[in-house]
Structures are given as C-alpha cells and as structure tokens.
Symmetry: C2
Subunit: 126 residues, 2 copies
C-alpha cells in the first residue's frame, strides 16, 4: 500500500500543505498515519477522501459541514447520515446552478442591450 508525503499529497489533492494540516487539526480529515519520527504518511484512502472533500469544497460546502462529513466518515455505521448530507448538498448545488443560470440570462440580456446601443451609435455616426 503506497503512501505519500505531505508534498506529494498536496500536489495530488490540489490542497496546499498548510490546508492539509488545517483540515486534520479541524477534524475534517481523520488523523493521518505518521512515521516513527512524526512525519505524515498519506494513504490512498486519505487521497480518495481528499478528492471528495475537494468536490464538496468546490461546490461551496462550508468548513463546518465538511467537518461533519469528516466526523461521520470515521465510522461506517453512519452511511445513512452521510448519504443524507450529500443529498442535501446536491440539492443546494442544484439551486446554485439554477440561480447562476437565471443571472447569466440577465447578463446576456444586458450584453444584448449594450450591443444594440452600440450598433445604433455606429449607424448614426455613419
């Protein structure tokens, strides 16, 4: 079973080394295995977890909820709660998307309006 030092874990997960330590302190990531000298050794499982955490973060889940997920993930008795959390979050993301699409339509409207104005100005000046 392969392990990774902090630098490689950071590179593979896309989180900075500081963020990895921060997540561990905050209980988002379960305590990472250490060498006898105290250095972290991230496992493939840790990286998989980080990969999913990145998905959650990128969709705007706040740290507090991330911690909740991290805590739940330490026991495999909590799959229903984790499922519920993910479903809930997915619904939130769906709404975010819908909202962004509405707003983007407004941006496009405004852009179209500007283009009209500019066309008008051009044809006047011609």
């Amino acid at each position: 079973m392969t392990t990774y030092g902090p630098a490689e874990a950071a590179e593979r997960s896309g989180f900075s080394i500081d963020t990895l330590r921060y997540y561990e302190r905050e209980g988002i990531l379960p305590p990472v295995a250490r060498t006898s000298a105290g250095r972290r050794q991230y496992s493939d499982g840790d990286l998989a977890m980080l990969d999913f955490l990145r998905c959650l973060r990128d969709t705007g889940m706040p740290i507090e909820r991330l911690r909740r997920y991290g805590e739940l993930a330490r026991s495999d008795e909590t799959m229903p709660e984790r499922l519920a959390l993910i479903e809930e979050h997915s619904a939130i993301v769906e709404q975010q998307i819908a909202e962004l699409e509405r707003q983007r339509a407004r941006l496009e409207e405004k852009a179209a309006w500007y283009r009209e104005q500019l066309d008008g100005a051009d044809s006047q000046s011609a």
Copy 2:
C-alpha cells in the same frame, strides 16, 4: 422622479444600508444625491444600478471588478468597455455553471453508491 431614503433603498435592492454606504465609498455606486441636510436620496436610476450590481455580486464578481464597472458607468463613452466586462463575466459564469454541473454529477454518483451499499446491508440483514 421618485426618490428613496437609505432604508427603502436597502429594502428594494436587497443590500444592507451599511453595504450601500460601503459601495458608495468604494466608488462602486456613483455619489448619491443628498438633501440639503446631507441625507441620501436614491433615485430610480440608482436602484436600477443596484439591481444590476446585485446580479454581478450574486454571480461572484469581486468588489474590485464591481468598482471597475461602477467607474465605467459614470461616463456613457464607455459602453464598449462595459460590454466587454459583462461578456467576460458571463463567460466566467458559464464556466462556473459547467464546473458545478460536473461536481454535482460526482455528488449524485456518490449518493448512488451509498444507496447501493445501504440496499446491500438491508437485504443482508433481512
């Protein structure tokens, strides 16, 4: 021409009174008309501007860019620049939406996986 006090402008725009003052200080909103005693009187034009600023904010445009737009909007010679800014932002929003959709697909995958696991556990326990 109707005008609105700070409280009503806040209510209509959805920004807080503090935020309205902040935006004005920061040059995002052009200087708002005042009564002889120095109290702000927001015009319909101001509210229209705020409404659009809200659209920009809600789609994640940073304050710095908002200021840029606000500055441009003070002169009507700058419509091409404003158009460009809006088009650029619209493209960014489009990418945000695409990214959120990708991530949401991952969430749904994960949720499906959890549901499978739980179904399995249920049928075992039955």
